[in-house]
């Protein structure tokens, strides 16, 4: 029997093979570790897991993590849009260099990312003494944690948008401006609708990473319980306290936060399916 396929459809066998590979990869690398986390969290039942989340130190950690993400993500989103506009819509010397600099925070070991702020704001660093005299705390306090998080998540939105905007080219914007639209209008009415799904992806990634960052924050936090421990650090605290169930319960909460944002994204996509189709047709 011969299959009649639409020319842009894959052969059914390759569909199955590719799907199996994808599901296999995701299972091996993502589902199983996640399952481990949840099984460990629920090993002693829901009650014990809930207790760990209801603890004052845990709530302080959740609050600190949310505050940190609420500052870091919008700043990096604004930066990402500005950077990708400059890089994707214009040709200028040193563009590749600039793009590489933007990638830089990815390649810096989280340990070093924390360390650089210690070298600047630490007591033995550039500004340590004067900050102490002014009684301003940067590292081992909330501002240091926020700074380290911004650094770690710095490239996410920009890197998501740059290839997308480069791919879309600049014809539509040029058409809009030649018809007399202002720069702001062009951006709001033409560019933003085209990039909003990429922007959303970027923001979600940025947010997920901001909440999950461990290494860099660990260096600048000081680990003061109930005060400067973020959720990932609280996980470590519980784990090292032999409270494995509690540790994995908090870890599951972090994983759930990510899943919830992703479900939200899916809902948005479904709700605005027509819209998306429209932006894809250009």
């Amino acid at each position: 029997m011969k299959f009649r396929r639409y020319p842009t459809q894959d052969h059914p066998l390759s569909r199955i093979a590719l799907s199996l590979i994808a599901i296999g990869v995701v299972t091996l690398f993502l589902v199983l570790p996640l399952a481990t986390v949840f099984t460990e969290a629920l090993r002693k039942g829901l009650g014990v897991a809930w207790e760990a989340l209801d603890d004052p130190d845990a709530r302080a950690a959740v609050r600190l993590t949310l505050i940190t993400a609420a500052i870091a993500v919008p700043l990096n989103a604004v930066f990402g849009v500005a950077a990708s506009w400059a890089i994707a819509k214009f040709d200028f010397k040193g563009k590749q260099f600039l793009t590489t600099l933007i990638d830089l925070p990815f390649s810096i070991s989280p340990v070093v990312s924390g360390l650089i702020y210690v070298l600047i704001f630490g007591l033995q660093g550039w500004f340590g003494e004067s900050l102490r005299e002014a009684n301003v705390k940067i590292i081992f306090a909330v501002p240091g944690i926020v700074l380290a998080t911004i650094f770690i998540t710095f490239p996410f939105v920009a890197r998501e948008l740059i290839p997308l905007m480069e791919d879309q080219g600049r014809d539509e914007e040029e058409a809009a401006t030649s018809l007399g639209a202002s720069g702001w209008d062009t951006f709001m009415r033409v560019t933003l609708p085209n990039i909003r799904w990429g922007l959303l992806y970027g923001v979600l990634l940025c947010n997920a990473r901001a909440m999950g960052e461990f290494g860099a924050v660990s260096v600048v936090s000081g680990h003061i319980r109930g005060l400067t421990n973020t959720m990932p650090l609280h996980v470590e605290v519980l784990y090292n306290d032999y409270q494995f169930v509690g540790a994995f319960a908090v870890a599951s909460l972090l994983a759930l936060l990510a899943l919830v944002t992703l479900v939200l994204k899916s809902l948005l996509e479904w709700r605005f399916a027509d819209d998306i189709a429209a932006t894809h047709r250009h």
């Binding site: 599901i23 950077a83 810096i108 070991s109 070298l119 791919d167 999950g212 994983a255």
Partner: protein, 278 residues
Amino acid sequence: MSAAGFRFRNPSALPGFGLSLGFTVFYLSVIVLIPIAALIVRPWEIGFSGFWNVISDPRVLAALRLSFGGAAIAAVINAVTGPIVAWVLVRYNFPGKRLLDALIDLPFALPTAVAGIALSQLYSANGWVGEPLSHLGIRIAYTPIGVIIALTFIGLPFVVRTLQPVLNDLSRDPEEAAATLGANRWQTITRVVLPSLMPALLTGATLAFARAVGEYGSVIFIAGNLPTVSEIAPLLIVIKLEQYDYAGAAAIGVVMLAASFAVILALNLLQNWIGKRR
């Protein structure tokens, strides 16, 4: 265009260049460049010979080899599996697809330390995956393979998430045209689809590589950390710091920084070149 001699930028009809580039450079300087300067000036207090002594230590070299080699292997693995995952997620429909999609970001959201603990539990000789493999004589946890597994884990979302929006946006017209002109599916994929995915794929693989080079939290739990065998460079930085040797720690940090900067720059140039040729 290039015959115009040195000109900072080519003329464009679009506004907002000064504002967007200005803000980009300002924010980049405050958040990234100035702090990195603090790192770069640090090692030289022990002089060039001191710097050289730190980084020419065979143990440091072995660690750098593992970090860069492991990250490269993990990036290659992700560059093969990532496009398949992205393709399946964008083009196919099957039950549970949304959930699969949502799971991709897990390595971002899970604190690296938790990921490390979960992976080492999974892949150690009494874990779900490690146990069957150990009967075949394959050890993963506490060997360099464990390092690669952890680095692949943290890199996967970079490739998938950079490809997805581009794939979503990819018009099917060229594919149809190719098919109408008699190309088979394989030819269409390799000659039409893949080339337009190339910039995003390279970006994703570069990011996965860059991220993996410096990774610490998830690796130290699964690596075994034996000097010259399964000891990664960031661990050596931590060891130097433990001895209050800031200069030595910064020296390794600077080497890693310079090397990954060079690799990313090269890949970005390559990507740009492919983009232009297209």
